[in-house]
C-alpha cells in the first residue's frame, strides 16, 4: 500500500499532465469522430460509421463555398499583414527613432483590445464612411489584427540575427539592396514564414471581427455560427478535421526537422 502511495506521490504530476492533455483533446476527438457519423439530417446522435461525408464533402450547401472564401481571405490578409509587419519589425530592431514608445504601444493595443470592440469599431467606421461590407472589409479587418502578431514573431528573428553576416556582405562590396536580398532576407525567412502561418491561422479561425464586418459575405466560421442554430452538417466536421490534421502534421514535421538540424549542428560542433 505504501509503495503504491509513494509511486503516486512521485508521479502525480506526470499523471495529472497526461490527463490534462487528454482533456484538451476531447472536443477535437469529438469533432473528428462525428465527421464519420452517418448523420443524414442532424449530426447530434451517433447513427453509425460512414465515409460518405468525406467523399461528398461539398454536397452540403454552403460548406465548401465558405471554406474557399476563408482560404481566400486568409491568403490576402496574410500577404498584406506579413509585408507591413515585417517592415515594422526590421525598423524596430535596427533603428532608434523618436516616438518609439508610442509605436510599440500602437502595436500592442490591438492585441490587448477585446475582439468585439475591434469588430464594432471597424463596423462603426465603415458605416459612417458608407463602405459596403463584404470580402474586402473582412480582409482589411483581418490584416489589422494580424500585423501586431507578425511584428512580434519577426522581431524576435531580426534581434537574433548576427550583424557580422551583413557586415561581411558589405565588406565584399555588396550594395545595400544586394546585402538585403542575399543575406538579410534569407536569414529572416524562417521568422517571416512563421509569422505568415500564424496570420493565416488567426484569420482562418476569426469569427467575432468577421461577424461585424462581413455583411452578406460568409466565411467558414460564420457559416458554422449561422448553422449552429439548426445543427451543423457532418460535412463541416470533415473540413475542420482535415484542416486539423494538415496543421498538426505540418507542426510535427517542422519540429522533427528542427530537432534533426540541432542534432547535426551538435555533431559538427562536438
Amino acid at each position: 500500500m505504501d509503495a503504491i502511495g509513494r509511486w503516486f506521490g512521485r508521479y502525480t504530476l506526470w499523471i495529472y499532465s497526461a490527463l490534462a492533455l487528454l482533456f484538451l483533446l476531447i472536443p477535437i476527438a469529438y469533432t473528428v469522430v462525428f465527421s464519420f457519423n452517418d448523420a443524414r439530417r442532424s449530426n447530434i446522435v451517433w447513427r453509425g460509421f460512414t465515409l460518405d461525408n468525406w467523399t461528398t464533402v461539398c454536397d452540403a450547401q454552403g460548406v465548401c463555398e465558405s471554406f474557399v472564401a476563408s482560404i481566400g481571405v486568409g491568403l490576402a490578409a496574410t500577404v498584406l499583414a506579413t509585408a507591413l509587419g515585417t517592415m515594422i519589425a526590421i525598423a524596430l530592431v535596427r533603428f532608434r527613432f523618436r516616438f518609439r514608445g508610442a509605436v510599440t504601444l500602437l502595436l500592442f493595443l490591438p492585441m490587448a483590445t477585446p475582439e468585439v470592440v475591434l469588430g464594432a469599431g471597424l463596423a462603426a467606421e465603415f458605416l459612417s464612411a458608407g463602405v459596403q461590407k463584404g470580402a474586402l472589409t473582412v480582409i482589411l479587418a483581418h490584416t489589422m489584427f494580424c500585423i501586431s502578431f507578425v511584428v512580434v514573431t519577426v522581431r524576435a528573428r531580426v534581434a537574433s540575427l548576427d550583424p557580422a553576416l551583413e557586415e561581411a556582405g558589405r565588406d565584399l562590396y555588396g550594395s545595400p539592396a544586394q546585402v538585403f536580398m542575399r543575406v538579410t532576407f534569407p536569414l529572416l525567412l524562417p521568422g517571416i514564414m512563421a509569422a505568415a502561418l500564424l496570420s493565416f491561422a488567426l484569420s482562418f479561425d476569426d469569427f467575432i471581427i468577421t461577424n461585424f464586418n462581413s455583411g452578406p459575405f460568409v466565411t467558414f466560421p460564420k457559416y458554422l455560427y449561422t448553422a449552429a442554430a439548426r445543427g451543423i452538417p457532418a460535412e463541416a466536421n470533415v473540413i475542420a478535421s482535415a484542416v486539423f490534421f494538415i496543421a498538426i502534421i505540418f507542426v510535427i514535421v517542422s519540429q522533427l526537422s528542427a530537432a534533426a538540424r540541432r542534432k547535426r549542428l551538435a555533431r559538427l560542433q562536438g
Partner: protein
C-alpha cells in the same frame, strides 16, 4: 542590445543619420498608417457613435442617428446592462482563475520535468496548442453536445445523484464559465511555460539547501520567478474571455440566463441597429481593459510590451 552600437556608428556622421532615419520612416509608415486607419480611427468612430442621438429626420426609422453629445447613452446602458457588465467580468475572472489552476502544473511539467526529453516536450506543447487547429466554434459546439441533457456527463452525474433528474449543465452559468476556461487555457499555459522553461533550477536547489520545505521553496522561489508568465497569461485569458460572446450565446453553451457584454454589443449593433448603445458598451469594456493594461504597462514599461 547588439544593434545599439550599430545605430550609433551610423549617427556619427550627420548625412548618414538622416538617410537612416528616412529608411526607418519608409519601413514604419505603411504599417503604422494602416493601424491608424483601421485601429485608431475605428476607436474614435466608436466614441463619436456612443454619443449619437436618433435622427429626427428619419421619422422613427431604426438605425439612423445624428452626431450629438448625448452622454445619457452611457447612463442608459449602465442602467440597462449593469448586470451584463458584472456578469462578464465575474465569468472572465472565474475562467482566469480556473485556467491558471489548470495550467500551472501542466506548464511546470512541460517546462521543467520534460526538459530532459526535448522531443516529448515539443510534442506536449503541440498538444497544448492543438485546440487552436480546430475551429473555435466547433470546439464549443462539441462541448455543448458532450454536456447536453442526454450526454454522457449529465447522465453519469445523475446516476451518481450529484445532479437532480431535472438539472442541466448547458445553458447554466457553469457551462459558460467552463467553455471560457477551456477555450483560453492555451493562452494561459504558453506564457507560464515560457517563463518556467527559462527557470534556473539552481535557485530551486538553493531553497532546498537552505532547509526550506518544498512548499516554501515553491512560493518564495519558483512562483515569483514565473510571475511574468502568470501575469501575461492572466491578461491573455481575462481580456478575450470578458469580451467573448460565443460561449454565452444561446446556440452554444449559454441561455437567456447568461448574456455577457459581447452578446449585448452584438445584439445592439447587428440585430437592433442601436449603434449608440453598442458603441457605449464597447467604450466601457475598452476603458475597463485599458485600466488593466495601464497597470501592466506601468509595471513592465513599453519596451517589453511586444
Amino acid at each position: 542590445m547588439a544593434f545599439g552600437a550599430f545605430a550609433t556608428a551610423g549617427a556619427a556622421t550627420e548625412p548618414v543619420a538622416r538617410k537612416r532615419s528616412k529608411i526607418a520612416l519608409i519601413l514604419l509608415l505603411p504599417g503604422i498608417a494602416y493601424l491608424a486607419l483601421f485601429f485608431l480611427v475605428p476607436l474614435v468612430s466608436l466614441i463619436l457613435t456612443s454619443f449619437q442621438t436618433p435622427s429626427e429626420l428619419a421619422f422613427g426609422e431604426p438605425g439612423v442617428y445624428d452626431y450629438a453629445f448625448k452622454w445619457e447613452n452611457y447612463t442608459d446602458v449602465l442602467g440597462l446592462y449593469g448586470e451584463h457588465i458584472f456578469r462578464s467580468f465575474f465569468y472572465a475572472l472565474l475562467a482566469t482563475v480556473f485556467a491558471l489552476l489548470f495550467s500551472y502544473p501542466l506548464a511546470y511539467f512541460i517546462g521543467v520535468k520534460l526538459r530532459r526529453f526535448p522531443l516529448v516536450q515539443a510534442l506536449a506543447l503541440t498538444l497544448v496548442i492543438a485546440p487552436f487547429f480546430i475551429s473555435f466554434l466547433l470546439r464549443t459546439l462539441a462541448w455543448k453536445q458532450i454536456l447536453s441533457d442526454d450526454g454522457v456527463v449529465v447522465t453519469a452525474l445523475q446516476g451518481l445523484s450529484i445532479l437532480g433528474p431535472e438539472a442541466h449543465i448547458t445553458g447554466e452559468p457553469i457551462a459558460v464559465i467552463f467553455g471560457l476556461t477551456y477555450n483560453f487555457i492555451p493562452f494561459m499555459t504558453l506564457p507560464i511555460y515560457t517563463s518556467l522553461e527559462k527557470l534556473d533550477l539552481r535557485y530551486v536547489e538553493a531553497g532546498g539547501d537552505l532547509y526550506a520545505s518544498p512548499a516554501r521553496t515553491f512560493f518564495s522561489v519558483t512562483l515569483p520567478l514565473s510571475a511574468p508568465g502568470v501575469i501575461s497569461g492572466m491578461l491573455l485569458t481575462f481580456i478575450p474571455a470578458s469580451g467573448d460572446y460565443i460561449n454565452a450565446s444561446r446556440d452554444f453553451l449559454g441561455s437567456t440566463k447568461t448574456p455577457m457584454i459581447g452578446n449585448v454589443i452584438e445584439n445592439n449593433f447587428l440585430v437592433q441597429q442601436n449603434y449608440p448603445a453598442a458603441a457605449a458598451m464597447s467604450i466601457l469594456l475598452m476603458a475597463a481593459i485599458l485600466v488593466l493594461v495601464g497597470i501592466y504597462v506601468k509595471k513592465s514599461g513599453t519596451e517589453d510590451l511586444i
